[in-house]
Symmetry: C2
Subunit: 585 residues, 2 copies
């Protein structure tokens, strides 16, 4: 039985940075070769980054992707890596996109994979199953491939597949079994969702059994706008046993030796019904590595640690990949801005985080103290900018009352943060949590101002859980807990009028978050929620608030997605919409 | 040859307003019956409004749509209209949506049509061709239908189809020919685009020839968020001749008598290959109307009139359907705010439009004069709110310079408009044109503040053209031209620093708009644009500005779409993106 030393390169490409991404492939291919790997696999759309969305429609971008691929093949050979088969995702097209008048039915842009070998593009494969749900729009962009690529290397037949191919039964994995391959490689751009790692392993195991072959699953890592890719690359045996696994949220080269069946010289090729099989032989002779190597199985972390790492990585990459050096945020002394500050300091370090306390006449003494305490604990760059002079300038020139005055204070704070951003170059962070966003409990162009919001997809109750977890984690490591206990335990308030509390306007957050999980994430209706035991009056109130807040959500900053239905990319609703869950049927 | 009196109801439904939309069907069916019509057709998704986007995933919404349909059938009969066949679009489902774990391959939500007759839902049809490009996402939502519904009424076989069915060759229209139908009804939710009416007639004519039968094309009218439906309903003979046509941008009942071939008793049903045919007979006997009736062909209007009407209707419906009564906007005396004010006054009347002049120390005398002149000409509610006291309050408390001070002035204006909105209940209108939006020539949370932007998809050069057209139109009718000549002819300036002109930062607008049309609407690359004769330095500068302005566009207000690629729904790009058109290949 031949042994194949596999390298799975869990790396962090940047959308559109073709030369930077190619440089990553060359660097990590060198490392794989230095470890004696006989095959190295990089993620889906490695060369272009993922997802590239409507850049697919730009012919100059497609041409640049293909040119970068060919240049990469030559550069790898020039690096002395021509003998190492390198599997890499990229954007290709064999015809105009569907939006063109010249579009042909079975040709167009492709979510493609190439195997680079001997200085050339040896094999191409086009993703067969295209996801078109949640954050995915691939029916809009791509034409599905209709053949499976099988490459014989070191005496083993290896099938090459892309991402969604593994999420659906039938297609490439079923054909791989018919083609009697010894291994299936699956390259991914699979975004993080809470508990998705718990789904991924059983899925890969199921598909390994369907193919009757081990599966090498490699995923990208890093943030891209609202998505964060968590890695979690793995090797699974034909019977579904986990053999090796990378950690989440970090770059990692997983190297592992696999004993694989020798290629069957009589295995079929050509048309196999649903798809055809295209074969290429680059190396028919098994060549066992010198000494066996085991990639190991990385420890799983708790849900809280997983979410925290997702938020830290999502923010760090948004800042870095958009060319910012630092961030600024308002510090109210409350739980949301405290947690965002702690995430920002973990992501960027304290010297790249500016926290501004902007007290008004309604700000309590404890709020100011809590903000200062957080600043001291984290070591961030702390400023104080009282807002009353600016608020008074508006009040003395306009006739304002009630809500208009409350919102005015939040908007003056927004203007101050944006002025600091313009003056000093920081990215402004927004700090509203998912529960607030859901019900519209925020001021448009006020506390919603900002370029990125780490808590956009984090419900309020989870904000508290994360705060307690982060402080406990600090204690465990003997470090100072970043978030003041008082910021966690005090009742939340916007402090825009005397004695104001969130509970004046909203139900208890435990109940609110449970209703939101059903209505927003679960698409449940009013009757379902009441049947689950929620009070009808509260359900009606929350549903109305969510329905009318769509416009505010549309105007909100991007933020890392961690749930099934984050606001933003994967939830599309009309703003103008008279539909309300019926309460009188 | 039997004669059929057809009624095409070009009406304006509201998304989610099931009972209001049903009331429209009852009212217009009554009018059709009063005119002796033997068949009345309403637009696609008439009962729910269109598009309903992710409401499709809410089972309670689907159930409400189906219940409303059945209630409508009964109500029509109770109204004494049970004998009149009524064709109406609605949302149906014969299985869970694709996002559900229980999803089945060929079942799910349907973009459906029903024929109501005798108090019952007599026939259903499910849209076969699903558009998934531009503003359309229907592969995300719907399962395509696989049968054609053919109904015999007044001795004629009538095939029933929905929208995209007419935009693609093959499918329902090809099957209609095989089924030897006498007429094809096609109900639509077809959004306006400049010159789309010029495309529509040849398309309907082509499909009529493909079916070998006349086509009755009915489209909705009205605004829905960024879309505006223009109507343009029509009847086209089997040879492609236009028989009758409704005007654009207004509700209209088109009633027309058609001589049609008698139904062929031997016409096939059941499986016809690509689709099957389901037949229903509700009235086999021809019944000619008493005296012939011709719907007439409405006059076409100029491109300028078409765009103006689209912008007026888009704004009016956004305000009305979202429950606002009035709007407020800043009046700088410049061309953009002047044109938006004129659109708003045409849409809502002068007493529902508040215009606020917010001069700073950099505002020229002529700007203040032009704003006042526009207010006088249009009769809108005019206010003056100097911004210097508020700007000074920020400047005396913070250390700001350069761009931060320029932006501060725009942001203070945004705070004033939002305060007026909160205090008095107006919707804030944004006034930045498409050219500005494209290159990011605006202040985030400053002049970009607002709930709706009529010029979002209108390039600057078209803003001038529209202004001149609107003034000439007023002169032609003997009314006062709303837009001061000086606002049209003076060089544009943001007036945020002394002597500032747009041309300090931007190329001439004629050149800018030509480059933007190629890069944004046409997805052309740098080399294509230079080959068209544009200067390479200018192309590079404009392309860089467009590439980095994505975040600002993401934060901008909705606005009526009039072009192939409006910013917003039909253009999706990553914010984090390092790709720049290569300038050194």
């Amino acid at each position: 039985m031949p042994t194949l030393r596999l390298a799975l390169a869990q790396v962090n490409p940047t959308v559109g940075d073709l030369s930077g991404n190619a440089a990553i492939v060359r660097e990590w291919s060198r490392a794989a070769a230095d470890s004696g790997a006989q095959l190295v696999a990089f993620p889906e759309m490695m060369l272009t980054g993922y997802p590239v969305e409507d850049l697919v429609f730009r012919e100059s971008f497609v041409a640049a992707s293909v040119a970068a691929l060919e240049r990469l093949a030559a550069d790898l050979a020039a690096d002395g890596l021509g003998d190492l088969p390198v599997v890499v995702g990229y954007l290709d097209a064999d015809g105009p996109a569907r939006i063109s008048a010249e579009a042909e039915p079975d040709r167009g842009p492709r979510d493609a994979l190439a195997l680079l070998h001997g200085g050339r593009v040896a094999v191409k494969y086009y993703k067969h199953h295209l996801p078109n749900y949640g954050v995915f729009d691939e029916d809009r962009y791509f034409v599905p491939g209709d053949f499976l690529a099988v490459v014989r290397m070191a005496g083993v037949d290896v099938a090459l597949t892309v991402c969604e191919d593994i999420w659906q039964a039938g297609g490439p994995f079923a054909i791989a079994r018919q083609a009697r391959v010894g291994l299936v490689v699956n390259i991914n751009g699979s975004p993080y969702e809470l508990d998705k790692d718990d789904v991924r392993l059983p899925l890969v195991a199921r598909r390994a059994r369907e193919a009757g072959a081990p599966v090498a699953y490699v995923n990208m890592v890093g943030g891209q706008d609202e998505l964060v890719f968590d890695g979690d690359s793995m090797l699974v045996a034909a019977d579904g046993t986990l053999l090796a696994r990378s950690p989440q949220f970090g770059e990692h080269l997983l190297i592992h030796d696999l004993d694989l069946p020798a290629a069957d010289p009589d295995a079929p090729e050509g048309d196999l019904g649903e798809m055809s099989v295209r074969r290429l032989v680059i190396d028919p002779v098994p060549a066992a590595p010198a000494s066996p190597l085991d990639g190991g199985v990385a420890d799983r972390v708790t849900d809280e640690a997983e979410v925290w790492q997702a938020l830290v990585l999502g923010l760090r990459d948004y800042v870095r990949k958009n060319g910012f050096r630092s961030v600024v945020l308002g510090l109210s002394g409350g739980i949301d801005s405290s947690v965002v500050a702690a995430i920002a300091v973990d992501a960027l370090g304290p010297d790249r985080v500016v926290g501004v306390s902007m007290p008004s006449q309604h700000s309590s003494e404890h709020s100011r103290d809590d903000a200062a305490d957080l600043a001291k604990r984290t070591g961030l760059d702390y400023r104080i900018e009282p807002i009353q002079p600016m608020v008074d300038a508006f009040l003395s020139n306009m006739s304002l009352s009630g809500l208009a005055v409350e919102n005015l204070q939040a908007r003056v704070r927004g203007v101050i943060l944006m002025a600091l951003s313009n003056q000093e170059g920081h990215l402004v962070l927004t700090t509203g949590n998912k529960s607030e966003l859901a019900v519209g409990y925020s001021t448009l162009y006020g506390d919603s101002v900002g370029g990125f919001n780490p808590l956009k997809d984090v419900p309020k109750t989870m904000v508290w859980t994360l705060a307690r977890w982060r402080d406990a984690e600090a204690e465990r490591r003997g470090a100072e807990p970043p978030i003041p206990e008082n910021a966690i335990s005090k009742p939340p308030s916007a402090e825009l009028r005397p004695g104001q509390l969130d509970t004046d306007s909203l139900p208890d957050y435990n109940e609110l978050d449970a209703i939101l999980a059903g209505y927003v994430d679960g698409d449940k209706g009013r009757d379902d929620l009441i049947a689950e035991g929620h009070d009808a009056t509260v359900v009606d109130k929350v549903l109305r608030m969510v329905d009318v807040a769509e416009y505010k959500r549309r105007q909100s900053a991007p933020g890392t997605k961690i749930s099934i239905k984050a606001f933003g990319r994967d939830r599309r609703l009309p703003i103008t919409n008279r539909w309300r869950e019926p309460s009188d049927r």
